[in-house]
Amino acid sequence: MTTASIGNETAIASTQAPVVKLTMLLSGVVFLLMMVFGLIMRAAQGGLIELDPEFFYLLLTAHGAGMVGSAALSGAAILWYFSARYLDLRGGIYLGFLGLFLLGVVLILGSIFVGGYGGAWTFLFPLPALSGGLWEAGAAVAFCLGYVAIGVGFLLYYLELGLKISARYRGLLGGLGWRYLFGGSDADLPPPTIIAASSVLVFNTIGIVFGAAVLAASIVNLLFPSFAVDPLLAKNAIYFFGHVFINATIYMAITAVYEILPTYTGRPWKTTRVFVGAWAAVVIFVQAVYFHHLLQDVNMPAWTLAVGQIVSYASGIPLIGVTVFSLAVYIKGSGLKWDLPVSLLTLGVIGWGVGVIPAIVDGMVAVNKLMHNTQWVPGHFHTYLLLGEVAMAFGFAAWLVRDAARQTMSGLDKLVFRAYVLGGAGFTLIFLWSGASSIPRRWAVHYEDWQFQSQLASVFALVVILATTVLVLRYAIGLLRRSP
């Protein structure tokens, strides 16, 4: 099944291709816009521009929600595209997902820029209800409803995947590869993409169902303030949902590497026992690790914090020991010719693998005491998002419009790729450096001593934005050229 499917994407995936291509354009444009928001925030922190703090925090909220959203959207598009190689997925469901997603985007953007909601993408209880007079409860409700719409869209998406996987591979246990892992039979073994799809749909559906409960509680609290929830319980639920959701984006996007890299190396990405085991570990770890967001909540039972630290570390093992290691093994000596898509996809895996290190370090209780909520935190997640998920998404997009006749990188491609890598690396390293300099995150105004780093970061951000602009334009032009 795995080997047979290489290169036949035209046959099955073609019906899904137009909407997926459109989605990637949409995500690309949103990524770019949100990067501009990011640059504005960094420039304001660097004192390069004047920005009203209220507007800064609106941008902060939009940047967070928008980036998580477009990462999720691009990841979902990638996973759908490749799952359709093995499953007879219904395009109508995808359109429903996309429609609900866009409805959610409208509600969220409206709540932020019309309603003035600036309570950050994490909507940490009880901040949405206690704005200090900046926004009305209605704006926060609209924001939550936006999330609900996106959640419902994803639920439909995962239900379709789940039903089709369950039917095709004899239950989700088959799709997860656990029959093979525990039963030993490799009959009808699913390809890596299906293992990934099954794993993501399991943990993200749990996350969404939980998230819906939390959102309902938040909405009730906003409308009927006497219904407060326990703040610590709310914090747990919000971080569980948020952590699982943002992690799912990258675990969906990685399927692009499983499916595209073999066409370059000629070596199919195999479903091995280690591979299935690694994904089984991911399903557990992604749900258990969210405690590392609560290491400074000393009222949590001590064992949860220990679990947070240990599972943070453990999450790195399947990533570095299996995904990154396999990538290296598949590439080494394959005679692969580097072009833009495969370079970006490889960058995505490396950025993810390297970016997890500062995350693991920060996941230690003792370190967290000094690094929590400093710029170290955006430092590590920008490494594995900007240089990880986003790179994979642009790699996939570039692959969708690749010119089959040419096998190398043009001069412009090389320049863009290098600019993206250097700009991204510089940008994220400054975050880490700033975190080590104790600069707090999410501050609209920076003290003078901190401004130099923000100014430097703005320069790197500008480089990333320029490179991204070319990537998006290149993709858009590619779409036009290939359309009849």
Binding site: G321, V324, G333, H372, N373, A436
Partner: protein, 167 residues
């Protein structure tokens, strides 16, 4: 401390990066040898062993240790967007237990030394009292900055106290 953490992290990142890049760039070299699966198992077991050692070493002494019996208790309350403490003078070398809470939304109590380096932090939560134990060994004016996003004046939510030598 932060510098050490940064350096260790950068070294680890550079190490992993170098290893990957060496293999990834060897597209025209020899294919991986037959022992590659053994190498992978070795890597995974080494990471597990390393994890056990790091976990035991870093958690055996619990980082959120309780205060001793003679600790000075300082109550800290907060709200949008202010801090308030029992005292603004804390004796040098005396173990202090901060009992932190808030009247409205989540805040984060970040204690900065006179060089603006974060020395300790804990979350401030409504309905809960979070304890933070710290012993100051440098005199001077310390600052409290808010570490958890709490609305429009988050960055203005600062406070000062002094660490003074006991007479």
């Amino acid at each position: 401390m932060q510098t050490t953490i940064l350096l260790i992290t950068l070294v680890l990142m550079a190490g992993v990066l170098t290893l990957i890049l060496r293999t990834v760039r060897a597209t025209d070299g020899p294919a991986p040898s037959q022992t590659v699966n053994r190498t992978r198992s070795w890597l995974i077991w080494a990471m597990i062993a390393g994890g056990v050692i790091i976990s035991v070493a870093s958690l055996r002494e619990w980082p959120h240790a309780d205060a001793g019996g003679d600790a000075l208790v300082v109550n800290v309350t907060s709200g949008q967007w202010w801090w308030d403490t029992d005292t603004t003078e804390i004796p040098l070398g005396q173990q202090v237990e901060f009992r932190v809470t808030t009247e409205d939304v989540n805040h984060g109590l970040g204690i900065y030394d006179p060089d603006m380096r974060l020395v300790a932090q804990v979350q401030a939560m409504p309905e809960y009292i979070n304890k933070l134990v710290h012993t100051f060994d440098e005199p001077g004016t310390y600052q409290i900055l808010c570490m958890e996003f709490c609305g429009i004046a988050h960055h203005d939510m600062t406070y000062e106290f002094d660490v003074v030598e006991a007479n």
